[in-house]
């Protein structure tokens, strides 16, 4: 597949934004349980606003993928069958809940409404729980867009969903750690620990996905594509000399060496390097180091997403093996 920059940016920004919101609300939950010191409302509010701006950036990037962005509103209509449509519905819902959560903290509407045992339930808690559910649903919707396409056998796996979930939350918690470190907040260590755990879990999931795809045998062959049962079968012409949509959309046009290079880069930049950097940042109480850890991982995730696309070989490519 051709890796479209708009989609790379869309999925990485959304993942980081969703992860950051989850980190903010996790911080609040831990503080309610007295595992962590309670932060000021401003901490949760500006963190959630940062998450919201990442989600907005992702939404903006998605428009560049569309041929007719002015009709994007129509995309909400087929939620019964299309995961893309479901994402189009869940994304603004998530953004709304994140914005409401930020606003609740910003305006200090945190007076308890009622009590469940020792738990004082306020508006931010309710919005946080709803936002968490929406965020997780958004991860599933985004990943299922890719995982549901059975003709892209590299993507057609539950590992695609776990990758999106774990890589997104890892980068979000890494950003939360950087955000806390930048504020000089004691939660940096907490977010950093979770970022490391999620990064390692993501490494397992992505590693398993890479191994699966390395051993993948495609279901279709040139023989089944044109229905001629002969071992020696070679394409001589594809019906167009200057390429077509089929050659532009489904081929990345890079060498196998470039692919290996990108894979090596993301395997270093997403997993071990940010873990080392965030540990160093914690040891040396360095906010720049923590920001670097997030930055390196984010760039690595963009490379990871590029590779995710480039690695996938669509069944239709069997019809486009040579020009003439």
């Amino acid at each position: 597949m051709h890796p479209a920059f708009s989609v790379i940016l869309l999925t990485t920004l959304l993942g980081a934004g969703q992860g950051l919101f989850l980190a903010m609300f996790t911080g609040q939950l831990y503080a309610i349980a007295h595992f962590l010191p309670l932060q000021t409302s401003g901490f949760y509010a500006s963190g959630s606003l940062l998450a919201l701006s990442l989600l907005l950036g992702g939404l903006a990037a998605s428009f560049f993928h569309l041929g007719r962005p002015e009709r994007a509103w129509r995309a909400a209509s087929c939620w019964r069958t299309s995961w893309l449509s479901r994402e189009v519905i869940v994304l603004p819902l998530t953004m709304g809940l994140v914005a409401a959560y930020a606003l609740t903290h910003l305006l200090g509407w945190t007076a308890p409404w009622f009590r469940v045992g020792a738990l004082a339930v306020d508006l931010s808690l309710i919005l946080g729980v709803l936002g968490t559910l929406a965020t997780l649903a958004l991860f599933v919707c985004t990943a299922m867009i890719y995982a549901v396409v059975r003709f892209l056998e590299e993507w057609h796996s539950p590992l695609t969903v776990s990758n999106f979930l774990l890589l997104g939350t890892a980068s979000g918690f890494m950003l939360a750690a950087a955000y806390s470190a930048w504020l000089g907040n004691p939660l940096g260590g907490f977010f950093g620990t979770w970022a490391v755990i999620l990064t390692l879990a993501a490494a397992l999931s992505r590693g398993a996905h890479l191994l699966r795809n390395a051993r993948l045998e495609h279901r279709s062959t040139v023989q089944s594509a044109i229905g001629v049962r002969h071992r020696a079968l070679q394409q001589k012409a594809q019906g167009a000399t200057g390429g077509s949509f089929n050659t532009r959309e489904f081929f990345h046009g890079r060498s196998a060496r470039t692919l290996r290079w990108v894979r090596g880069f993301f395997l270093v930049a997403v997993f071990p390097l940010p873990v080392v950097l965030i540990a160093l940042a914690h040891a040396e109480v360095s906010s720049t180091m923590a920001l670097t850890a997030f930055g390196v991982q984010f760039v690595g995730l963009m490379a990871e997403r590029w590779y995710f696309f480039a690695e996938a070989r669509h069944a239709q490519n069997l019809y486009y093996q040579s020009v003439s």
Partner: protein, 240 residues
């Protein structure tokens, strides 16, 4: 229920591209707007086509055969491109089974092209919507045309009648008989998309001609036959 489809006979397709040009001509001139054609006379012409003829070589030189393979939307009975469309622009007509795109609803997200294993859908670079073979829906449903013209442009253009058009759900139609009696098959049947279009396989047409087929052994005009009769009659004298 009717399911209109094409049956393409690979045994007689000569790869002349007449179906490609007539398809482009008809479909670029209709009410749905032109099909883009970029750099048509330059080094790398590209554009939107509903139908393309590809060429494959079977075997190893010198024992090779050339297979010309016209490829267009197969109008699957279970089209995987339809449910993934977020806007409902991609649909299958209930009355005749043709898979179509509503160009006014399409947002050009290309998702349906990912969900088609045959590469039958193309994004039009100028109109920025997804386009595909319509089986010339504006011809085949136009009652003002004479009956023989109510066929896709590619079928009418084919000089070798390699393209048959009809209802594959009617067991007595020309296409159903061709599929049944001439080994019609579906492409990439392993995906369960149930393509309505079928292909007829190549087969060797060999005729064995013995010398006796060219010249009668007991040809009465042969020299040795021009002998003087002596009154007796042979079987040939009474039977020819």
């Amino acid at each position: 229920m009717t399911q209109l489809a094409l049956v393409i006979d690979l045994n007689v397709c000569v790869g002349c591209h007449a179906c490609v040009t007539s398809c482009k001509e008809w479909n670029t001139s209709g009410a749905a707007g032109p099909l883009v054609d970029e750099h048509p006379y330059d080094g790398s012409p590209t554009g939107t086509f509903f139908n393309r003829v590809q060429t494959f070589e079977v075997g190893t030189f010198p024992d090779t055969e050339t297979v010309h393979f016209p490829k267009s939307c197969l109008h699957c009975e279970d089209p995987p491109c339809v449910p993934v469309c977020p806007t409902g622009a991609s649909y299958k007509r209930a009355d005749n089974g043709v898979v179509l795109v509503d160009y006014d609803k399409c947002i050009g997200c290309k998702y349906c092209s990912w969900a088609c294993p045959y590469g039958a859908r193309e994004l039009d670079a100028q109109e920025r919507v997804m386009k595909k073979c319509t089986l010339c829906i504006d011809r085949i449903t136009d009652d003002s045309l004479p009956e023989r013209d109510r066929q896709p442009a590619c079928v009418l253009a084919c000089p070798t009648s390699a393209r048959l058009f009809g209802d594959v759900h009617d067991p007595d139609s020309e296409v159903s008989v061709a599929i049944r009696e001439r080994g019609g098959y579906a492409l990439m049947a392993e995906w369960g998309t149930k393509p309505a279009n079928h292909y007829l396989p190549r087969h060797k047409t060999r005729m064995h001609i013995a010398p006796e087929d060219l010249e009668r052994v007991d040809n009465p005009l042969r020299r040795e036959d021009l002998t003087d009769y002596t009154g007796e009659e042979s079987v040939d004298d009474v039977a020819w």
